[in-house]
Amino acid sequence: MSAGPARAEPVAPRAGDPQAARGFRRALRATLGRSYPRIIGSNRDKSWLFYDTVLPLLGTVSFVYVYKTFGAPERFLAYVIMGGATTAFWMNVMWSMAAQFYWDKQAGNLELYMVAPCGLLPILLGMSLGGLVATTLRAVVIVAAGSLLFGVSYAGGQIPALLLVFAVAMVALYGLGITFASVFLMWGREAWHMANTFMEPVFLLSGFYFPVRALGFWVGLGASLIPLTLALDAMRRLLFPGAHPALLPLAAEVGILAALAVGFAIAAWVSLRKMEMLARREARLSLRF
């Protein structure tokens, strides 16, 4: 082994460096650091091109043909394409956020995260950021390919409102993902099965392939706890003004989404702290299988 002194400065606080500022900088660095593998992963492993775009597109096309069987109007085809793109976000949140700590535990990463001074929240935020960037790219590919394939067109007059709805919904959705990350970690091997179990019921309740109003007002309102429900409904209304039977007025939908974003952010923070204490008390982090 070659010799050579390792002369790095210790990480100890510098004089005049307030602890809060140092903590914030560290959290920011941790968030960006953890988002890196998510973003670079898309570049390194090209299998996502097939699995995360072609695959959802195939499923989407199947549902498009269902509407074609009925001779449904064009906007229904667009509903399915938008729903298909949204599945990419749900899958990302379930498999790469909620179930991620479970995989990290299996791989031995979780213990290292837990002893890192940045805490778990910046690490999860990093995963969200990386996941959001990569998944948005995938969703755009699905919408573009699906729309071109079936000749679907949209009204493009309200793009800023559309982006606002999307942004608020994503904050709420990834907040939900972070909350689930703690819950799934406690469930252990059940996490995988629960993520699987939730798929079709969520696609149903959130109206991925049909206007959620079809479920009835109260069921639709209950399903609005899943951020994608109102996000899809609001975006469909903006893309098909006048034709889409929306559940609530636009302002109400955006307001509820914003409330969900705040609510899930708090829930994520609380559940992470609870999970961490529970894991330390009951030694669940030591169990691999």
């Binding site: 390792a6 593998p37 791989a107 990463n109 002893v115």
Partner: protein, 334 residues
């Protein structure tokens, strides 16, 4: 800070997953009233068989696990109340780790972890390059983690633990599963690091006697969740009540040779092969060997080799526990 690590009456029990057999315990005691002090600058070893409680103790100290009772302070901070501040001062490296993202390169993986410790990017990259060179992974920095051998991966993990330049480094079985060469390199670097940074502390757990003997300033032997001995390796060996032992090779001896009757000879074992006899002698004290040498010379036997056998930590363990280390493994408790 008078002690780097200060442990008082620490206990940790786990709820047993198995239903208790008739009268059997429903809980498993992993740590049972452990008290220990590790001084700043010390390379302290925790030696014990599998399931003795080593990893549980390290998990409590690195804030992964809460104690059931008792207290532990790391760098003067309580591991329960001040967990976040403790984490700023420590890192942990476990042996046999499979952690890491296969699609990242070694440098990227280490950079990512450096970010979790808040090290600015440029400083982190410079330090990573420097440490990779030192552990002999300079050429592998741009290889993907998934392409590394287990020895390389462990060196990478060691670098991960060293990049934040911790006050206290926890090494949990750092050489387990490695080949002899890789294990020797890891041990050599651990020694160098602590040698160059006299104000840093290492707590190392191992079940390899030779590793503890070779590396540690002091060693605590842990068995069934209790510390049963704690001292320097030399002092522990001196505790051995096995007295003085020698091995001697000579011309073939008559099986009836009565060396055991010589003064100071407590016991003998003889093996004869290839025209030579090998004698293992247990003596009351070192001085008794001269009587044995004289008796052989008078019997016209040449002496080809003579070696004094120092008691090992294994001997100390056997004497205290009554079993060899590998026979003392316990099922994992948690």
């Amino acid at each position: 800070m008078s002690h780097a690590i200060e442990i008082r009456d620490l206990a940790r029990t786990y709820r047993s997953k198995r239903p208790p057999r008739s009268g059997g315990p429903a809980t498993v005691v992993a740590l049972d009233g452990v008290s220990l002090d590790v001084r700043p600058g010390e390379l302290f070893g925790l030696l014990g068989p599998n399931g003795a409680g080593k990893t549980t103790l390290i998990k409590v100290l690195v804030t992964l696990l809460l104690p059931s009772s008792g207290s532990a302070r790391v760098a003067g901070l309580d591991v329960v109340a001040d967990a976040r501040r403790v984490r700023e001062l420590i890192t942990m490296v476990s042996g046999g780790e499979t952690s890491g993202y296969g699609l990242l390169t070694v440098r990227e993986q280490l950079w990512m972890f450096a970010q979790f410790y808040g090290i600015p990017g440029r400083r982190a990259r410079a330090r990573i390059d420097e440490l990779l060179e030192v552990v002999g992974l300079g050429e592998e920095g741009d290889r993907r983690v998934s392409a590394l051998s287990s020895g390389m991966r462990q060196k990478m993990n060691l670098v991960r633990g060293l990049v934040p330049d911790p006050e206290i480094l926890f090494l949990d079985e750092p050489t387990v599963g490695l080949d002899v060469g890789a294990a020797r390199e890891i041990r050599a670097y651990i020694k160098r690091w602590i040698g160059e940074k006299p104000n840093r502390t290492i707590l190392l757990t191992t079940h390899y006697m030779a590793e503890a003997d070779d590396l540690c300033d002091r060693v605590a032997i842990i068995y069934k969740g209790r510390i049963i001995a704690c001292d320097t390796p030399a002092a522990l060996r001196r505790r051995s009540a096995r007295g003085s032992r020698f091995v001697l090779t000579t011309d073939p001896l008559d099986p009836g040779a009565r060396l055991g009757d010589l003064p100071g000879v407590v016991g003998t074992e003889m093996r004869t092969a290839d025209g030579r006899s090998e004698l293992e002698l247990q003596l009351a004290d070192d001085g008794a060997i001269s009587g044995v040498v004289r008796a052989l010379s008078e019997g016209d036997r040449k002496i080809y080799s003579l070696q004094k056998l120092e008691p090992s930590l294994e001997d100390v363990f056997v004497e205290i526990v009554g079993r060899r280390m590998e026979e003392a493994d316990e099922p994992p408790s948690g």
